[in-house]
């Protein structure tokens, strides 16, 4: 879901490259919303690849989100990138809406929807995506699946429809540390790798959630390795 801004960046760097040529590694979303929730989020991906256009590329996102009620959560992001040897540049804005469809544990699978609209200010590209969020508990194990349909359009890009998939298989060991395996797949990039997650609690129901992982390419078209991490402060 996040690959479009990298792709847009690549488009500028390599004219003729399609917006579909990006990477899929970003974040796995869970289909739950809590009322009164507010959060600041920072997440980043660092790429390592033989391709000089990808090698050393950093993607940064800073977002503020708040629940609208007990079913809807909205978040706004600013998105920047940094090429090796260059300074950080602001590339895009994104609005996200998450909709919790079922109560956790009510049915065999928990359901949610995620809507995203991204505007790339550099090349006037737009992207709208809708993702189905699925989650199921297996004792202390939890499986999560995000399946997205994405439409990209703009005057400087080829309009196209894409799909992407992100999956996470997580073991709830303890609140501060949960190991997981994540799989990402888009039309042009595929990766799998270990991830760790955790939550640190503070007084006043404030929390710091963290995630870090290293995703390895599953084919030659994907970035060799993507290091991703996220900090999310709930207050």
């Amino acid at each position: 879901m996040s690959r479009r801004y990298l792709a847009a960046y690549l488009l500028m760097a390599a004219p003729g490259m399609s917006l579909a040529d990006g990477l899929a590694v970003d974040k796995v979303y869970h289909p739950y919303v809590q009322p009164l929730e507010r959060e600041l989020e920072y997440r980043s991906s660092w790429l390592d690849d033989d391709d000089m256009q990808l090698d050393g590329l950093q993607i940064h996102r800073l977002g503020f989100g708040a629940s609208l009620n007990d079913r809807w959560f909205a978040e706004l992001y600013v998105i920047g990138s940094k090429e090796k040897g260059h300074s950080l540049s602001l590339d895009a804005y994104e609005m996200e809406l998450k909709w919790q469809l079922t109560e956790q544990g009510e049915y065999a699978v928990d359901w949610g929807l995620l809507f995203e609209l991204e505007v790339n200010q550099e090349n006037s590209a737009r992207e709208f995506s809708t993702a189905v969020l699925l989650e199921k508990e297996f004792g202390r194990w939890t499986g999560t699946l995000n399946v997205a349909g994405i439409y990209e359009w703009g005057s400087r890009i080829s309009n196209e429809f894409e799909t992407s998939l992100a999956a996470q298989w997580r073991y709830r060991a303890r609140p501060g540390f949960e190991p997981a395996l994540e799989l990402y797949s888009s039309d042009s990039a595929k990766g799998i790798g270990p991830v760790a997650l955790g939550t640190v609690r503070f007084s006043g129901a404030r929390k710091l959630r963290w995630e870090a992982g290293l995703i390895f390419a599953l084919d030659s078209d994907s970035p060799d390795q993507t290091l991703r991490w996220m900090l999310e402060y709930e207050f």
């Binding site: 009322p35 009164l36 007990d70 109560e103 956790q104 004792g139 609140p175 129901a205």
Partner: protein, 109 residues
């Protein structure tokens, strides 16, 4: 006796076949930042529906890492939480906004 009767609505674990797929239903209350009852027994290996009434004017969050649940219940409102199927055991929960007072546990057997 009178005291017991008075507590009965609070301590009663309402068992019914209403709701979803015959999941047993239990009702608990949050009052003065405490859970009533603070401990109750549910059938193991079966999904259970909890209806949590927050009688306080302030919100509270039912939270349990062991149950893999967190749910904010607004002041004066109720919320539904599905838990399980649980293996036999003890599963603590607490109110995240008042963790020192609002504590309880679910016993699955």
């Amino acid at each position: 006796m009178h005291r017991c009767l008075k507590m009965l609505p609070l301590l009663s674990l309402m068992w019914s076949c209403g709701g979803l797929a015959a999941a047993p239903v239990f009702e608990i209350e949050i009052r003065d930042h405490l859970f009533f009852p603070s401990e109750f027994t549910v059938p193991a290996d079966q999904k259970v529906k909890l209806i949590v009434y927050n009688r306080d004017s302030t919100p509270e969050e039912f939270e349990s890492y062991e149950l893999n649940r967190e749910k904010v219940i607004m002041g004066g409102a109720k919320s539904v939480i599905f838990i399980g199927p649980l293996k036999p055991g003890i599963y603590p929960f607490f109110g995240e906004f008042n963790p020192k007072t609002a504590q309880g546990r679910v016993i699955a057997e």
